[in-house]
Amino acid sequence: MASPKVAVVGAGVIGLSTALRITETCPSCSVTVLSDQFSPNTTSDVAAGMLIPHTYPDTPIHRQKQWFKETFTYLFAISNSAEASEAGIHLVSGWQVFKSTPKEELPFWSDIVLGFRAMSEAELLKFPQHQFGQAFTTLRCDCPPYLLWLEKRLKAAGTQLYTRKVADLWELHSEYDIVVNCAGMGAQQLVGDKELFPVRGQVLKVHAPWVKQFIRDGDGLTYIYPGIHRVTLGGTREKGSWSLSPDAGTTRDIFDRCCSLEPSLQGAQDIEVKVGLRPSRQCVRVQREVLSQGGVKLPVVHNYGHGAGGFSVHRGTANEAAHLVGECISALQGSSWRAKL
């Protein structure tokens, strides 16, 4: 197969990073990104983009750790280069605080982030309602810049990007050899995955440029993440909710919870409310599949279901998905060779 034609469905952080990785591992591939939404209208644009992993209950920890490590290493190199500001990648330090000491004091990712340690007594004084805390430095992907940077890299590699709503993967079988499904929440409709469910998150993006540190409650519900131009205040985790409309009561509640962690936020200006549906699953689906219909085969690589942890593992799952695309190509080449006999 001289130039395998690969379609990547989805243009959030997963779709774009997977497409980019495929152009790197398979330079002869012709890659096209198809999505009904592009930045700034993807779920990724709502996310804070922090590299703090979400733990997937059904994915082996070593695999999650590998994904995170690959992502962290990749972004670390970018953050340290002249491209950092264009790519929107930057280091940020801060605290994760717990109202009661967690069972697991050392999360699996503690040796991947920088300078991980328990907070000192003096630091905890700032959080009278919290007993225990962790301090560390991690990376952040600012969106839209990071997605726009990925799009730019893709275009430079000859990738085509089209706004198109794909209702059924079979629509693509005549134009493409392999389809990569990075449709996020869209995978529920696209491939009928009943294990995929939305976890609604509402966030506030505010102007508070004096906030240089992140603060996160270990319960994952309240967080303050400083971005390049705005600070993301969160949040909610509403399992099963599909509503994309901001809720005023929730806005008030998020603001109050964040102000109790960081009182200076009372002075925040220019509050923008955003909602995203985390495409959640017990385990991220990074998997090969060959769809079959009336004698026609369509190789598909799935890469979706990252829930609350998309940014944290995106490069790692992109690596795995690109590897699976490689396997699809080998399989196609093998069968086309056999077909010639």
Binding site: A84, L91, L114, K212
Partner: protein, 348 residues
Amino acid sequence: MRVAVIGAGVIGLSSALCIHEQFHGLVPSLELEVYADRFTPHTTSDGAAGLWQPYLSDHGNLQETLWNKETFDYLLGHMHSAAAKEMGLFLISGYNLFTEPVPDPSWKNIVLGFRNLTPKELELFPGYSYGWFNTALMLEGRSYLPWLTNRLTQRGVKFFHKKVESFQELFSQGVDVVLNCSGIRAGDLQPDPELQPGRGQIIKVLAPWVKHFIITHDLNSGIYSSPYIIPGSEFTVLGGIYQHGNWSEENSAKDHKSVWDSCCRLLPALQKAKIVAEWSGLRPARRSVRLERESIRLGNQQAEVIHNYGHGGFGITIHWGCAMAAARLFGNILQEKKQLSTPPGPRL
């Protein structure tokens, strides 16, 4: 009781506030006045990035270490108030980098979370093999000085825009006590060969993705003569110039290039940062801070001067401790003049 403060930088304004807070209730006749030829945003304090960080070594000057600590604790106590934003006060973490191991600084237990850098962190800074990470405070002059001015104005303190030529000038107008917070130009009021300019030049850029301070150290060339990057609430300050004895407040192209090149080497992402301003200032350097009383005989009167100047590149870092010490000296003066029956302090 007329008290005149000379100087409206961080030292003058904070000393004035500290004295007014402590004594206006006890001394009904207290009248406080601030005299300066430069006010915010034209003072030396306005040019400073505003990072709380003392020099590497206190040279055995424990008094200054205590004043630094007092300042840090005082500011940290304000972190939870709604005033923090208005004061220009916020927490910030960052890196101090060295080319060889160094002893821990006197302030390691004052700041939060002080620790050595890990090998992975040092990978970010080629050429540096050792360093510290800690969380400290920023107190931006361009917010703090107006905040102090507002507090003082609310309290009825009067401001006079004029250059005071001598202490005598004020005493002959009926001032009882002078607080000399004249910074680098204290020598104009009373010669002090120990006071020398430590000239600095900085470049202000827009680099909002920088969330940490990064301060490098060259043990051979001395403090602040090695690149540093300090992100503020709006601009990031790039610096690394310390020229002892240089009185020029003009920006030098050579210094600009030195700062720009060295900071971009330190943080390659800065190459894309937009330069918005350049500034030169004179750190009022002295072997130690001059914080002491001086009684001046004027005819049959005794006039009192409290000197509070010579804070070098650590004025913001040490200001409140010094203001409190100046206030204590003022209390002593009041006692001696029988204006106070007992020194102020906690009531038993």
